[in-house]
């Protein structure tokens, strides 16, 4: 009996010990995870206050797969181009004006062929080396050699190897032909650190692979991180030559947020401090109601048009194109679908720029006139194709809206929706592009040539997708490109605009209003139609 009892007791003790150990371990684990969790939640909440530096998060519509300033030229890439890099001049404000930037001044020769720029002496790259004329020469050569992005502005007029640097702070461009627009495109010559970039070159790629993920600029912000799928972050470059105002933004973060809702709700919640200014009307309405968001309104030079494939029958027939132009219900689209948030823009140039004829009327919605024009087109008419850009509901809605009107005048059509890169690749040939493609045309430089000239000049074919070709137009354009008489250029562009409208080369719909949503504590956003509010060095942020 005693043996049995002892065994029982021992067993009991073992069991108790085991149980105790077990409970202790479990409790410890629970307490630990709970602590970790509580800490996590507290820290997560309090970290915003703990910050001493201001951080600005911008929710960007498209992703920054490549940071190369010389191969990217679309609107979102302005974030890279104007924050990480500097040009010789810079566009600011609205209406836009060009202010000296890395260059202090320039001179032009009598014949308009030689441009000489004097560089500032106090500009430095982020690695501390000085910005010199050699860097400018390298940069323009690189742009031309890669042939992407802004290159089309220079390829025809700046022959490779002709740009020289007589001294460290003087750059001389030797143009092939006089160009009225060259100066206006100079802000797009972004300067890279030639020594650094050259050292990263592999197989004569102009360091394309390296610059896609890294930065070698002198801009107001220096790159900290780049994750192609997420975006990039940058830190204020305190030594920037332009100096800094009160409470500048110390840390910039551009994050890719493709979903509109996420952008808007994130802004309302305070996760983001800014996003693109071209949101749909309902979203802007929603943002207006949020206390911690403000909307900065600006007229822009971004026009919306339904561009036509002028080379492809039946769109090569001017009567057919006019019929199309009469069939679009401009007011209905602007007032009902866009809730009047944009302004009717009847011509190819933005209303606010010079080069528009004073008596410019454009087309208005008139189905009778449309039918009348259509009757001059030899039938039967094949179904017309639309291609809209996925994610840009204006293009989709304009297409569907127009499709409905076309049906009323007896034209059948098909709408296809593709991502913008695909639309773009289709636009590259008259055979692949759809008959009607709705898209925007933004300001890259401020001159009517950016719009009417580049969209309809035969010399720009391949770059533009209208496949419009008119010898009379081209003659005027060639003259306008070399003239340095502003009054003559105005008349020429007005004439070109009149021709394009008379030929109904596209359906011009509206010019956008920019409604830039920002966190309420962000001040001093300096909007220009070129940088679209993405040039953030001027802004300040209270924290």
């Amino acid at each position: 009996m005693p043996g049995r009892l002892r065994r029982a007791a021992k067993w009991r003790i073992n069991w108790l010990k085991w149980f105790g150990d077990m409970m202790e371990a479990i409790c410890k684990t629970i307490v630990k995870s709970a602590l970790f969790f509580i800490l996590a939640v507290m820290f997560g909440g309090s970290v915003a206050q703990a910050q001493t530096e201001s951080r600005f998060v911008y929710a960007n519509t498209s992703s920054f797969e490549s940071l190369d300033p010389h191969t990217n030229f679309d609107v979102p890439s302005a974030a890279v181009r104007f924050n990480l890099y500097d040009g010789l001049y810079r566009w600011v404000d609205n209406p836009p004006q060009m202010i000296p930037w890395l260059a202090e001044s320039y001179t032009v020769s009598e014949d308009g062929l030689v441009y000489t720029f004097k560089l500032r002496h106090d500009a430095k790259f982020h690695d501390g080396t000085a910005v010199t004329a050699a860097d400018v020469v390298y940069s323009i050569e690189r742009i031309i050699a890669l042939g992407k992005g802004a290159a089309s502005n220079y390829i025809d007029i700046v022959p490779p190897g002709t740009t020289t640097a007589p001294d460290a702070h003087t750059v001389v461009f030797h143009l092939k032909t006089p160009s009225a627009i060259f100066l206006k495109t100079v802000p797009d010559i972004l300067i890279v650190n030639s020594a650094l970039v050259k050292s990263k070159e592999v197989n004569g790629d102009w360091s394309g692979t390296w610059l896609a993920r890294n930065e070698a600029g002198s801009g107001s912000y220096a790159l900290v991180r780049h994750e192609p799928s997420l975006g990039f972050s940058a830190r204020r470059f305190a030594d920037h030559f332009a100096g800094w105002g009160e409470n500048p933004i110390d840390e910039l973060e551009f994050r890719t947020v493709q979903d509109i809702n996420t952008r808007v709700l994130g802004l309302i919640r305070g996760d983001y401090h800014g996003t693109d200014g071209y949101l749909p009307f309902t979203q802007i309405q929603r943002l207006r109601q949020a206390a911690n968001v403000k909307i900065i309104e600006q007229e822009t030079m971004r026009i919306f048009l339904l561009s036509l494939n002028n080379a492809k029958p039946p769109l090569d027939n001017v009567h057919f194109r006019r019929a199309l132009s009469y069939a679009f219900d401009y007011d209905g689209f602007i007032n009902n679908i866009l809730n009047g948030s944009v302004t009717r823009n009847p011509g190819p140039n933005p209303n606010t720029i010079w080069g528009n004829p004073a008596d410019l009327q454009g087309y208005s919605y008139n189905l009778d006139k449309a039918r009348e024009e259509l009757s001059k087109v030899p039938g039967p008419i094949r179904p017309i194709t639309f291609e809209a850009s996925a994610g840009y509901s204006d293009t989709e809605q304009a297409s569907i809206f127009f499709q409905n009107a076309l049906r009323q005048i007896g034209i059948e059509s098909v709408v296809k929706v593709s991502p913008w890169p695909v639309v773009l690749s289709h636009l590259s040939s008259s055979d692949t592009r759809a008959d009607i493609v709705a898209h925007w045309r933004s300001a890259f430089y401020v001159d009517p040539n950016n719009w009417v000239g580049e969209m309809y000049g035969t010399r720009y074919q391949g770059k533009t997708s209208s496949y419009y070709s008119n010898p009379e137009f081209d003659r005027l354009l060639e003259r306008a490109l070399i003239s340095n008489d502003q009054e003559e250029r105005r008349k020429l562009y007005e004439e070109m605009t009149r021709i394009v409208i008379d030929d109904a080369a596209a359906i011009f719909v509206y010019s956008t209003r920019w409604n830039g949503p920002y966190a309420a504590n962000v001040e001093g956003i300096r909007f220009s139609p070129v940088s679209n509010g993405l040039d953030l060095r001027w802004a300040s942020m209270k924290h």
Partner: protein, 334 residues
């Protein structure tokens, strides 16, 4: 020896399957209506530039030759360069893979935590109201379109209640990480804030992803439990008076889970397919959103790379399932 034969069995079919997969995707990518050369050459390229690119990419060669060249490249670990990101595909995939794996992993855990207990309850209380209720829930979550569910969850938890972030993988920029797995990095670095942020961000997408998988698990576990309860061994143990709780929670459960484990390959497939849509809605920077973006922007190198990667992953997961099953079931994979 048994392990070797399991691995061998899977591997024998690995290469033919991958080859077939590649062939399908390759054929698909070459009947594409847009010219990859134009895409690569860029917007302002001239005709000669495009031709040069075409020659450079080997697009001027015959299709079988192109395929062989591609195979040669792949065998050296070179999947080509993405037209869109201008980075090697392998780099692209490697950058995004941890995000997807992390999301899928959390989703598997959620699915298992919800699905297996629910399935056991259903199996044990077959035809009770609880069983019916849980099964209706399961059928419903399988019937819900994940993109729609995602929007409703965002609506409730991010907009109305403002408890959880709307999208993305972490608040603020993801710090330079060692592993790419945020939770792991947070723990390694002792960064509580990052951990919390990662946790808050992963909940909604993982939940969206996990629900249909959980429903699948409910079904399999329920059937497994019912089959186990009806098995002669349970009948014997009952006859021998073994207490019900030991029978159920030790013997039946193990039998039922053995059946469930074999379905994890399937569950993983459900998750990976779901990730394609869920990542897109939640802006999750993983393979799924990359695949959709690549497909939509006609980036065929990327699509082929992704397909191959996924296929290999599938084989690997099935292999793991086989091994796990072998570990659980001493009889071997009969």
């Amino acid at each position: 020896m048994r392990w070797l034969s399991i691995i061998g069995n899977r591997l024998i079919w690995f290469f033919p399957t991958m080859l077939g997969l590649l062939l399908i995707v390759f054929v698909l990518s070459r009947v594409v209506p847009i010219d990859p050369a134009v895409l690569v050459a860029g917007e302002n390229a001239s005709a000669e530039q495009i031709e040069r690119v075409r020659g450079h990419l080997g697009l001027d060669q015959s299709l079988p030759r192109q395929f062989l060249t591609y195979l040669g490249d792949v065998s050296q670990g070179n999947f080509g360069t993405s037209v869109y990101t201008r980075q090697p595909i392998v780099t692209d995939l490697a950058i995004r893979f941890p995000a997807t794996l992390e999301l899928t992993f959390v989703a598997v855990i959620i699915a298992a935590l919800i699905g297996i207990p629910a399935g056991v309850l259903c199996g044990l209380h077959r035809n009770s109201w609880l069983d019916h209720f849980l099964r209706v829930i399961a059928a419903s979550s399988m019937a819900t379109a994940s993109f729609w569910l995602a929007m409703q969850l965002q609506m409730i938890f991010s907009v109305e209640l403002a408890w959880l972030p709307l999208s993305g993988r972490s608040a603020g920029f993801i710090p330079e990480t060692a592993t790419g797995f945020l939770f792991l990095d947070a723990v390694l670095a002792g960064d509580v804030r990052l951990f919390a942020s990662a946790l808050a961000h992963v909940i909604l997408p993982a939940l969206t992803l996990a629900l249909p998988a959980a429903a699948t698990l409910v079904r399999f576990t329920r059937n497994g439990v019912i089959a186990a309860l009806n098995s002669p061994s349970v009948s014997y143990q009952t006859a021998m008076g073994l207490p019900r709780r030991i029978i159920v929670w030790k013997y039946v459960l193990r039998l039922a889970l053995g059946a469930t484990v074999t379905q994890f390959g399937l569950v993983f497939g459900v998750l990976l397919a779901g990730a394609i849509v869920v990542e897109t809605v939640f802006d999750w920077p993983g393979l799924g959103s990359y695949a959709v973006r690549s497909i939509l922007s006609s980036d065929y190198n990327a699509v082929m790379g992704f397909t191959l990667w996924t296929g290999a992953l599938f084989v690997l997961v099935n292999l793991l399932v086989d091994l796990l099953q072998a570990a659980i079931d001493p009889r071997g994979s009969a």
